[in-house]
């Protein structure tokens, strides 16, 4: 049901019956390594190219999610995934392996919540029994495409972020045990004129604020309604900027209730500069770490605002600014 201008409220509260996350070596050294289902020691995952490794990440996460949800791959009705690679080949190739109808979605690093919102919508209106949705990214595959060759010695400024190697997948179903999806607010493209591709957090912060504001307005609730509001990958700078922006707009948000996936995933001292980013960032942290904490009863209501920077290497070279987007999904458990 539509509420306000751009929020869906799901009366049937679709359930995330199972999730799975897969990570790489860098994530294995991170803060939330225990929340991953599968961690790889080798960035290549035994494949002969980074792109293939990227595909394998997503495949493994999908199979693991199905295994945990106790279903066969024939029962999956839709796959809704996306990633950052040109023409989204890792997602498409992984979908080829599963063989279910496939909808590729692109929202850059906000893909995870875009997929989850769409899945919830379809499931809510009886469109499917089981939907696999997720997002993935692979550090070196993404670096290779967006920046320089991985072995190239270019100094990154302190505003830069580290692309996560990982895939997070959720299995969404109309009934079952697990966290429930109650509402979702779709983002609009916000461009505040930042053009530095090494400052994604600063570019994406206004998009996150825009979506959070819209969600609260549409739902007619206060920020304190949620036990925790989690942004996708704003990093240190983006988080600070967005907090100040919200204060400026009169939204009172307690600092400890405002988390960022990009800051949760890695340990202090890992050379990630401003924090983590990438489509896999919000996917792995939400589907792994945060839902685990939810199931342990740490919090009941969570709003996940995944943020994405919709740029390409081409637009950057053509001196375009970076348009950004954020999608919010509210998840509740217990209570």
């Amino acid at each position: 049901m539509m509420k306000g201008h751009r929020t869906w409220v799901f009366e049937n509260k679709p359930v995330i019956i199972a999730t799975a996350t897969v990570g790489g070596p860098f994530e294995a050294n991170g803060r939330i390594a225990d929340d991953f289902d599968l961690l790889h020691e080798d960035l290549w995952l035994g494949e002969d190219s980074y792109e293939k490794a990227h595909k394998v990440l997503l495949e493994e996460a999908m199979f693991k999610a199905m295994e945990k949800g106790g279903i066969e791959k024939e029962k999956v009705q839709f796959i809704i995934t996306g990633d950052l690679i040109n023409q989204m080949t890792p997602s498409s190739f992984a979908a080829r392996t599963i063989g279910a109808p496939y909808l590729g979605v692109f929202g850059a690093c906000s893909t995870s919540m875009e997929g989850l919102a769409l899945s919830a919508f379809i499931v809510n209106y009886g469109g499917a029994e089981y939907i696999l949705t997720g997002a993935s990214s692979h550090n070196t595959a993404v670096e290779k495409q967006f920046r320089y060759p991985t072995e190239y010695g270019g100094q990154k400024p302190p505003t830069a972020q580290w692309t996560v190697t990982g895939a997070g997948v959720a299995l969404v179903s109309p009934q079952g045990e697990g966290p429930r999806i109650v509402s979702a607010t779709m983002g609009r493209v916000v461009d505040m004129g930042i053009s530095d591709p090494f400052n994604m957090g600063g570019a994406m912060a206004p998009a996150a604020v825009d979506t959070i504001e819209a969600h609260l307005r549409d739902m007619q609730i206060d920020a304190s309604y949620y036990d925790v509001i989690v942004t996708g990958d704003l990093g240190k700078i983006g988080r600070e900027v967005s907090l100040d922006l919200m204060r400026q707009h009169g939204i009172d948000l307690k600092e400890e209730r405002y988390q960022d996936c990009g800051l949760l995933i890695y340990r202090e001292g890992q050379p990630v500069l401003s924090g983590a980013s990438g489509a896999g960032c919000s996917a792995t942290v939400v589907y792994g770490h945060l839902l685990n904490r939810m199931k342990q009863g740490e919090f009941k209501r969570m709003l996940v605002v995944a943020t994405g920077a919709l740029l390409s290497p081409l637009t950057f070279q053509q001196n375009e600014t970076i348009p950004c987007i954020a999608h919010a999904v509210a998840i509740e458990y217990g209570g």
Binding site: D48, S49, Y50, E51, K144, Y148, P149, T150, E151, Y152, G153, G154, Q155, K156, P157, P158, T159, D191, M192, G193, I194, S195, N199, G202, A205, P206, K236, I237, E240, V241, D244, L245, P271, S274, N319, T321
Partner: protein, 160 residues
Amino acid sequence: MANEKRKKLTPVQQEYHLFEKERETKRPVVKNCIRAFFVGGLICVIGQAISYFYMYFFDFTEQTVGNPTVATMVFLAMIFTGLGVYDRIAQFAGAGSSVPVTGFGNAVISAAIEHRTEGFVLGVGGNMFKLAGSVILFGTFAAFVVALIKTIAVKWGGLG
């Protein structure tokens, strides 16, 4: 360049620009420069040592020793790039490791290694100069213009 770009922005965007700038972690310019100075200087000292080595043991003069020295430095760049060390050094040293000829070598070699998965012809061959190509292009073209002007000036202007 940054200013020109900013002019095209709307007032709201400009306001946000300033808002964001205030909260952005500044680049540690002074620290970076000091690091660049020491690492860059050190690489040049290594180059000088290699020069003396070639001059002492082979028939190279100060004039001709540049080529073997450069080749050796590029070779070292290959080893360090291949072992995955050069990008680590670069994150510390910045321009200190990219301005010396080793940085040029690193740009070529890293691209070559990276695109090996696309095959030797289309991958390695096609992408080798994707970073360093501009250096060759602008170096060659600038040299062409400079040399042309100078030649003309000397020949017909009686200069030089």
